[in-house]
């Protein structure tokens, strides 16, 4: 074992992926070779995984927090620093990112094996860049570095969604993701500016009277990054990227950056009860809204995308209710089981060359590893008792109930029912249903596509039983306790699975499908997208119209008035220029006399 200090391990986790990205970007023969490029990136991901594992092990054994910073800029009110902050929160997130990123990179070896070599190399360059960006976000010692990492992962998201950039829909989706999140990120930037002017720094531990303004602005950015209604519109489109990208960025890590920001800045958010209230409501509404849309999606990735929106809503609602442990624990469990679901979905898609669940069917027999790991992920997501999602969701619901937020709690409970229902639907149709002709020649991917599934299935299955030590990392205590809220949620989850079994495995209760028709119509009509588009367009048009009016009737009018006055005055003054020399002479003499008179009146 290498004898390194925690700081050195953290430096390793940070710089090795960057080194890999820079090498792959600069040495184009290596990048264009494809396979070797993947090898370089995978070595970096493995080093990162080892470093993160060592660090987590250290912190589970009660290592001291480490803070190492270097001066970056001389600010108006002191030094602005960059560096590394190691504590239970950052170390655990680091490991989550490392495990999922490693799994995704391994999985991509098989999933993208048919890609052109240059594209394959490009993909791994961006994967390495993403790993560095996410680590710099997670390890940030202050909110400014977190913002830098935040923007970097946004860039990687854009690049990876648009991986198939020659496909117009992918290019459009990448742009949409970029614009929507960038719009929201203005909130983070403005919040940081307000924070800096009030406290002279970017510390998340600051106490300030402007906490409500700052946190509300931060929350705008969180809504964009973590896809909260009504800024969730980019996430379903982001599924245009390769499925492993969806697993890593758009399910497990990058979209959770918003939640991570709230966890990190919890001391600031604790000073703003209003922000918490807003978060609880928006989170709960998103959880319900997105879950109900997921029910009617036929594209397996879209189901999972809306599910991600919905689960992020749970986390946001929890953090809004002050249930930091619940929110953060759900982030962790969700990262594992949703990455698992996406990768397994990728395996299914790879097998039938279609995203439609109706084109799958009976795949469990043909792809046992992929199928069973998908079922594990689905049970965790549905909050089936004993699976990881059960414990974290229970913590969230208890937290919201503890605050007495009964309406959001009801939304979250209905959401839990729908979650179980839509996951049941996917499992019963795609894995257990009647085989479709598309699935005739389906077969499982190679070892590189099985190993990550098995690795991720372990935490998805069992992480809940380690809630105690994990809570200890974050300075919380955890005691398992199943109250009436948890029992209700579990009952609703089981009911959801049961209903989906009746409807999609037994073909009963088809009348209920009609109940979801309006939701389907709403989802297909893209009402929220259109609302934004028209809002944007109308807003710009109204603004543009106002500015045009101002330009035409105020600024131009002012200019015209000056012009007119000059002309009129000149016209009057023309008479002075008679052209007669003697008039000029008279004027000179008159001036002379006036000067003389002046001198006589005011001598000296």
């Amino acid at each position: 074992m290498l004898e390194l200090t925690p700081l050195q391990w953290a430096q390793l986790a940070l710089w090795v992926p960057l080194l890999s990205a820079v090498v792959l970007a600069a040495v184009w023969p290596l990048r264009k070779a494809g396979g070797p490029a993947a090898g370089v990136s995978l070595v970096a991901a493995t080093v990162n995984l080892a470093a993160a594992a060592v660090l987590l092990f250290g912190w589970l054994n009660g290592a001291e927090d480490v803070r190492h910073t270097a001066p970056w800029l001389i600010g108006g009110q002191g030094l602005i620093e960059l560096g590394v902050h190691l504590d239970g929160v950052s170390v655990s997130m680091l490991l989550v990112v490392a495990v999922v990123a490693w799994g995704v990179q391994v999985f991509s070896l098989g999933y993208l094996a048919d890609e052109p070599k240059a594209g394959f190399g490009r993909y791994y360059t961006w994967q390495s860049l993403f790993l560095f960006s996410m680590n710099s976000l997670v390890l940030a010692p202050n909110l400014l570095q977190l913002f830098l990492g935040w923007e970097l992962v946004g860039l990687c998201s854009y690049l990876l969604i648009g991986y198939w950039f020659t496909k117009p829909s992918a290019a459009k989706a990448a742009l949409k993701a970029f614009w929507v999140t960038k719009f929201a990120d203005m909130g983070l930037l403005l919040g940081l500016i307000v924070l800096y002017t009030h406290t002279g720094g970017f510390e998340w531990t600051a106490t300030t009277t402007a906490a409500t303004t700052v946190t509300l602005l931060f929350f705008l950015a969180v809504m964009g990054k973590s896809a909260q209604f009504p800024l969730h519109i980019w996430l379903p489109d982001a599924m245009e990227g390769p499925t492993p990208v969806s697993a890593l960025l758009h399910a497990a890590t990058m979209v959770a950056a918003g939640v991570f920001l709230v966890v990190r800045a919890a001391p600031l958010f604790a000073q703003a009860p209003l922000t918490g209230e807003v978060m609880t409501w928006i989170g709960a509404f998103t959880a319900l809204f997105a879950a109900s849309i997921a029910v009617v999606q036929t594209d397996i990735k879209k189901v999972l995308a809306y599910s991600t929106c919905s689960q992020l809503g749970y986390m946001v609602a929890a953090l809004g209710s002050g249930a930091v442990l619940g929110g953060y624990f759900h982030l962790t469990t969700h990262a594992f089981f949703k990455a698992l679901l996406f990768l397994a979905a990728g395996g299914l898609i790879h097998a039938v060359h279609s995203n439609e669940i109706s084109h799958m069917g009976g795949l469990l027999k043909k792809l046992p590893v992929t199928g069973w790991t998908f079922i594990i992920g689905a049970l965790a997501l549905a909050g089936f008792p004993g699976f990881s999602g059960f414990f974290s969701k229970d913590l969230i619901l208890e937290g919201v109930a503890h605050q007495g937020q009964w309406v959001p709690l009801a939304m979250l409970l209905v959401g839990a029912f729908l979650t179980a229902f839509y996951m049941g639907r996917v499992v019963f149709i795609a894995l257990l249903g009647a085989p479709s002709e598309h699935a005739a020649h389906a077969h499982e991917g190679g070892g590189s596509m099985k190993l990550p599934l098995l690795v991720l299935a372990v935490p998805a299955l069992a992480l809940g039983f380690f809630a105690g030590p994990v809570a200890g990392l974050w300075g919380h205590e955890y005691h398992f306790h199943l109250g009436w809220v948890g029992l209700t949620a579990s009952a609703l989850g089981l009911a959801g699975i049961g209903l989906s079994w009746v409807m999609f495995a037994k073909g009963g209760a088809q009348g209920l499908l009609a109940a979801f028709a309006p939701v389907g119509a709403l989802a297909r009509s893209g009402a929220v997208d259109r609302l934004w588009a028209t809002g944007y367009r109308q807003g710009l048009q109204v603004l543009g119209g106002a500015i045009a009016w101002l330009d035409r009737y105020v600024i131009d009018a002012l200019m015209n008035l000056i012009g007119y006055l000059s002309l009129a005055l000149g016209d009057r003054l023309r008479a002075v220029q008679t052209g007669n020399v003697r008039d000029y002479v008279y004027a000179v003499v008159a001036g002379l006399l006036l000067l003389g008179a002046w001198g006589a009146m005011f001598p000296g």
């Binding site: 003054l573 002075v576 220029q577 008679t578 052209g579 007669n580 020399v581 003697r582 002479v585 003499v589």
Partner: protein
């Protein structure tokens, strides 16, 4: 004595000014300007003598030289005017009216 010189200068200046204001002939106007300039020269020399310094005379010489140059340009303009209009009456030459 100083008083007498100043009266002479004032009389010369007034004569010139009167001519400047009343003449219609461009040559007459130029002559009047010369009179006024010479009135100034008289004042310069007189005050130079009064203070017992040569500055006034030196300055008068300067003024004379400049006046000569001015007269040369003025006369050239008068000749051009004559070539254009076959007379040198300034009242009629109002082409520069705005």
């Amino acid at each position: 004595m100083m008083q007498a010189w100043l009266i002479l200068a004032a009389a010369l200046f007034s004569l010139g000014l009167f001519g400047l204001l009343t003449r219609r002939n461009a040559v007459g106007i130029l002559l009047s300007v010369e009179l006024m300039a010479n009135a100034v020269n008289v004042v310069l020399v007189a005050f130079g003598r009064w203070h017992g310094v040569a500055d006034g005379q030196v300055f008068a010489l300067f003024t004379t030289a400049i006046t000569v140059a001015e007269a040369a340009i003025g006369l050239a303009l008068v000749i051009l005017l004559y070539r254009q209009r076959q007379d040198v009456l300034v009242d009629a030459a109002t082409e520069m009216r705005g």
